[in-house]
């Protein structure tokens, strides 16, 4: 059976464009608002990544940290994250949703319980920032068993031998980190160089959907549109922060930015 994730990539391909993936933090800035934001942006985004916030995120820059701290301060718990995902899937059942976060939260919740819950609320994929290959093998297998896509990350520092192994062990989607950076960094590598490395990954196995993330904004998105998918996170989280600071409605503002992003890759 084709996964919703693969279908989303196929749809985008049929329209001759990359899939647009958005990242927002569950509960940012409130539980209710984050569901509204998700539902609204999913009219333009092909795949929604939803972060479960951690208070010591070692791979995230300022924007996503701010969103995470805000959500935690507002009392968001893992079970709220699941209920946000569930609510979202109820009204957007064909829109894939990916949960993303740090391993300690899964570990404390209990791996099996966490994955059962993912399956139950119909989460399509999972990204665990600090559980790299090969340590993640068992976990990835558990995901597969439940029909949850485990999404492997690949970075500019990933060696060729390692890349082969990771791709072999990956499911439908692979996430290429564009540069040496935490999230929210400015794109410091040329799009040409990024796309060269992207092709190298893609050529390992054409059937894998490879997305590029980190440093993607309204300014840079167009230059990378050859990819299967593009992820925008910090730019969206920043929009939420700005909206709150300006006392404007984040739902409208975030929807507008996602709409603009989409227009740039059409």
């Amino acid at each position: 059976m084709t996964s919703l994730l693969s279908k989303a990539f196929q749809n985008a391909k049929n329209e001759n464009r990359p899939a647009l993936l958005t990242y927002t933090v569950a509960g940012d800035n409130t539980k209710k608002k984050s569901i509204e934001i998700l539902k609204s942006i999913s009219n333009y985004a092909d795949i929604c990544e939803l972060g479960f916030p951690h208070n010591t995120p070692i791979a995230d820059g300022g924007q996503i940290q701010t969103s995470a701290y805000r959500a935690i301060k507002n009392g968001i718990k893992i079970n709220d994250v699941f209920s946000i995902a569930k609510d979202f899937k109820k009204s957007k059942k064909n829109k894939p949703i990916i949960l993303m976060g740090y391993y300690n939260m899964i570990f404390q919740y209990n791996e099996n319980k966490f994955l059962d819950k993912c399956k139950k609320v119909k989460v399509d994929g999972l990204i665990v920032v600090d559980l790299p290959y090969p340590e993640n093998k068992k976990f990835a297998a558990k995901c597969k068993k439940r029909g949850v896509n485990f999404i492997q990350l690949v970075s500019p520092t990933t060696t060729s031998i390692r890349l082969k192994k990771i791709i072999k062990d990956s499911h439908d989607m692979v996430y290429y980190i564009s540069m040496l950076s935490t999230t929210g960094g400015k794109l410091k590598v040329s799009p040409k160089k990024i796309l060269e490395r992207y092709s190298k990954i893609k050529n390992q196995n054409k059937s894998k959907n490879v997305v590029i993330g980190f440093g993607i904004t309204e300014k840079t998105i167009k230059s990378l549109k050859k990819a299967d998918g593009l992820v925008v996170g910090s730019a969206i989280c920043k929009e939420i922060s700005d909206s709150i600071n300006k006392r404007q409605n984040p739902v409208t503002n975030v929807t507008n930015i996602v709409k603009r992003l989409k227009n740039k890759i059409k």
Binding site: T56, I58, N104, Q108, T158
Partner: protein
């Protein structure tokens, strides 16, 4: 879970880097896999390289100034009237604390790997000060990440770092202490790992950093073993080695040569930061029975909530004010080889006052936690019991805190 004899504890992990099957590991973002692997290979090579070892020993002797002295605290012993109390005065090492061992070794590794930039975290400011010293000595450019709260409370060490030409990057996130400094330092490394070497300031972090740090501080116990034998002819039959535990680098260094001995002969006692007496907050994951969790790339007992969010900690001692602890200490706890307890802020202050009153010794707030336990147990023990405290830091850096809390000049 069992300890092996004849194998350094730092090497008793499985192929994924776990001690006892569950402590440690390398929970790192993909980007750091390669630099961590490179560092692992380099360290594996260097620690067998005779030239490198010679260089290490040269700098330990001529730069750090080993061996540090091992002295009996006669006045304190007489005052307490029980076990003999001795101190290994590691604060005599260049810079004033044990952090110089790890910093020197990291600077040498950085040089060997051909990198020109070195970054590190610091809480009490000693790890930062020592890294800035070593960087200066070996011609490396150095950046130190430090929580804004710690920058304020450990000013003398910050002055030293700046004097050595290091840049201090203040960290304003979270509780603005060591935990945030380590996070921010790791983030910096993620972004700059192609030309920058990272030093983790204690036996924490991804597996390789635990190993390098423990390998470096182990010098302390090598010296102590020699000193014990020359002082007592042979190892005494009842020894208690008391050490404060933040991340655990000083304690591991103090104990490593003695782990294979029976605990009835050589007892290992780790003292964590219990925080203010009236506060619920502390930095004592081992002795307060915290659950295992993952922080900064390793699994350890960890101050956290049921969701896995890292808890705020509180301690008068910036060096011990950290929610996690070394995986090797978790392993020593679970195998019951070491015993862990805590001292409160007030206990540590009282111990500092007593030690400075009776002895010509000025332990910083971190080892004052260890002295608090020594003072607590000594009166109940026999005169042939040898308590040795690692006085691993000098209180100059605590000037402002001591003045405020004790009205001292």
């Amino acid at each position: 879970m069992k300890l092996k004899k004849g194998v350094p504890l730092i090497d008793q992990h499985d192929r994924y880097g776990f001690w006892g099957g569950k402590f440690g590991g390398s929970f790192i973002p993909e980007t750091l896999k390669k630099p961590v692997e490179d560092l692992t290979n380099e360290f594996k090579k260097l620690r067998k390289d005779k030239k490198f070892l010679k260089k290490r020993d040269f700098y330990f002797k001529n730069y750090i100034g080993t061996p540090t002295s091992f002295v009996k605290l006669d006045n304190l012993t007489n005052h307490l009237g029980g076990a003999q109390i001795w101190a290994k005065v590691v604060s005599e090492a260049n810079g004033g604390a044990h952090k110089i061992y790890n910093a020197t070794v990291h600077a040498l590794i950085c040089k060997a790997m051909g990198k020109k930039y070195i970054v590190g975290d610091t809480g009490a400011g000693y790890a930062g000060k020592m890294l800035s010293m070593a960087a200066k000595k070996f011609g490396l450019k150095c950046k130190i990440f430090m929580g804004a709260k710690d920058i304020k409370r450990q000013k003398p060490n910050c002055d030293a770092m700046r004097k050595n030409g290091a840049e201090i990057v203040p960290v304003y996130s979270g509780s603005q202490t060591l935990v945030d400094a380590v996070s921010e330092c790791m983030r910096y490394w993620v972004s700059n790992c192609d030309n920058t070497h990272m030093c983790v300031g204690s036996t924490v972090g991804p597996n390789i950093f635990v190993k390098i740090c423990g390998w470096s501080t182990a010098q302390i116990s090598r010296e102590l073993k020699v000193q014990l034998k020359s002082e007592f002819k042979k190892l005494p039959n009842k020894i208690k080695l008391i050490n404060c535990v933040g991340g655990g680098s000083s304690a591991y260094g103090f104990w490593s040569e003695f782990i294979d001995y029976d605990r009835k002969k050589i007892e290992l006692i780790g003292v964590e930061a219990g925080g203010p007496k009236k506060s619920k907050l502390h930095a004592a994951p081992l002795s307060q029975n915290a659950k295992i969790g993952i922080l900064h790339g390793a699994a350890s007992y960890l101050c956290q909530n049921s969701e896995g969010q890292i808890n705020d900690t509180e301690s008068i001692s910036a060096g011990l004010d950290y929610p996690g602890v070394s995986p090797i200490h978790c392993f020593l706890k679970d195998t019951k080889r070491a015993r862990y307890t805590y001292a409160t802020d007030e206990d540590a202050l009282k111990a500092h006052v007593m030690v400075t009153k009776y002895e010509n010794l000025n332990p910083s707030l971190e080892p004052s936690h260890a002295f608090a336990e020594a003072i607590r147990i000594a009166p109940k023990l026999s005169k042939d019991t040898i308590i040795i405290v690692n006085s691993c830091g000098d209180a100059k850096k605590d000037r402002d805190i001591l003045r405020e809390r004790l009205g001292k000049k």
